[in-house]
């Protein structure tokens, strides 16, 4: 594989390989020296045309723990502001000798376009529009597997703003490739216009779906992308679709909760529910580094 643009680039075997290699990096993170010389002399650039603190930090930490050099490009402080095209920006940055580009953009498909513009660089999708966020789904699978042992056979419930969520699209592909059954729970206006061909079922009542779920993936209401207009009020959204304390009691004792962050406590998740031991949010963040180390290692080591 030349690039990681979508979960479909990996397939079930590829996902498995990433998760297996990520185990090895998770061990590295437990060492006294959390750094290996694997990618010494390589350079990884993060090109974030859309701001994101946690994803950028996670990728940059991953690259540094692999001893790669890291170049951090932020559109806000760059020539893009002066009118330079993404294509020229990418070509300029690659000419500085990059080995991998992690690309995030508010528009779907930009990482794929970038992959057509580069000559040698590997391109990793760090999140594009509503399309995909493959490393987030991989770290979700990794974290759930760590706790539940296997993904195969699990019942995954994805709740919230699925329409505008790149995480949801990657999760549907990753979880179903690994043998989980996936259910979407959202108000009609926050479902994608069509789920034709998606290996999912849809429920319109969260209370009904929660007792059956092994994994509950909560998504943030993407207010900055106008999602607020898709529901009448936040209060109504929380009442029907938020994981309130009352609803959390419906969960199976061994069910786990994931959230890609940042969490908005009191909207999609009640504050005390976010702090339950089943909520894997912090562990997801820790694992994010190991999973992204695995992705960079496999891409630059030529094994993917």
């Amino acid at each position: 594989m030349t690039h990681l643009l979508s979960i479909t680039d990996l397939g079930a075997d590829g996902i498995d390989e990433v998760l297996r290699v990520a185990e090895a990096f998770a061990e590295v993170e437990r060492r006294p020296v959390r750094k290996v010389p694997t990618l010494r002399g390589r350079t990884v650039a993060t090109l974030f045309f859309e701001e994101s603190t946690r994803t950028r930090l996670s990728f940059e930490t991953a690259a540094k723990r692999l001893s790669a050099d890291v170049l951090s490009f932020s559109a806000a402080a760059s020539s893009v502001k002066k009118g330079e095209s993404i294509r020229d920006t990418v070509e300029t940055i690659e000419a500085m000798g990059m080995d991998a580009l992690v690309v995030r953009h508010a528009s779907a498909g930009v990482p794929m376009q970038v992959s057509r513009w580069v000559k040698e660089c590997k391109v990793v999708n760090g999140g594009d529009g509503w399309h995909e966020h493959p490393t987030q789904a991989l770290l979700d699978c990794f974290t759930v597997r760590q706790v539940r042992g296997e993904i195969d056979g699990l019942r995954v419930l994805i709740v919230g703003d699925i329409r505008h969520s790149r995480v949801a699209r990657s999760q549907v592909l990753a979880y179903s490739a690994l043998g989980a059954s996936v259910t979407l729970a959202a108000p009609g206006s926050l479902l994608p216009p069509s789920i034709e061909g998606w290996p999912v079922s849809v429920v319109h009542d969260l209370d009904e779906a929660l007792p059956d779920a092994d994994v509950v993936s909560l998504l943030r209401l993407q207010a900055e992308r106008g999602s607020g207009e898709f529901v009448p009020t936040l209060r109504e959204y929380t009442a029907d679709w938020g994981l309130t304390t009352r609803r959390a009691a419906l969960l199976r004792p061994d069910a786990v909760l994931t959230h890609p962050g940042p969490m908005i406590r009191g909207v999609e998740i009640a504050g005390d529910v976010a702090d339950l031991p089943q909520a894997l949010v912090t562990r997801q963040v820790t694992n994010g580094v190991a999973v992204r180390m695995a992705v960079l290692f496999l891409l630059l080591g030529g094994a993917l």
């Binding site: 390989e17 590295v28 010389p37 030529g302």
Partner: protein, 185 residues
């Protein structure tokens, strides 16, 4: 002749051409090496055995068992995968094969690296780098069942089961059944 899958260095199946040590020979060599470790270090205090993934791991465990039987001391045994420390990343696919588990902080310890075959020395070089991240050992020693020559780095074993002259393109396989020379097909 025996065929055995070798997953990591090269794809293909190992086909043995000649058997140079029997299973009993390997066992005898292992017992001798275990005694040499105890003798050279004036006992087993602070000794830690680290088996390199994958071929060195069973040998390290067996060596520890020998030492437990003979000296009555439980020597800590760890495992190390050196994939992340290799110097040939990008030249060919390198995948971590198995777990790294270092049982304790290595500072002040005498670490004995155990591997099945010593060849170019690059794996041991990677292992030395890796071990440095687990603490500053007092000494690091190297035990190998077979030294087949063709070193590319200034590395020399402290304990050797058998010196075995080979051709560069041959493969050496160490297993319960003994040591065989063959090719990958």
């Amino acid at each position: 002749m025996a065929k055995r899958e070798r997953s990591h260095t090269r794809p293909g199946v190992f086909v043995a051409r000649s058997r140079v040590l029997s299973g009993a020979d390997v066992n005898r060599a292992l017992v001798r090496m275990a005694h040499e470790v105890a003798e050279r270090n004036g006992g087993l205090t602070d000794v830690v055995l680290i088996g390199l993934q994958t071929g060195g791991v069973p040998l390290a465990r067996r060596m520890a068992a020998v030492l437990a039987g003979a000296e009555g001391t439980e020597v800590p045994v760890g495992t190390l995968d050196v994939a992340f420390y290799r110097d040939d990343i990008g030249l060919r696919p390198v995948l971590p094969e198995a777990a790294t588990e270092v049982p304790c902080d290595l500072s002040g310890k005498v670490v004995v690296i155990v591997d099945d075959v010593l060849f170019t020395g690059r794996t041991v070089r990677a292992a030395l780098n890796a071990l440095g991240d687990f603490g500053r050992a007092r000494a690091v020693q190297l035990a190998v069942m077979v030294d087949r020559g063709h070193r590319e780095l200034p590395i020399r074993p402290d304990y050797v089961g058998k010196n075995l002259p080979t051709r560069r393109d041959e493969m050496v396989d160490v297993s319960d059944q003994g040591v065989a020379i063959g090719t990958i097909e």
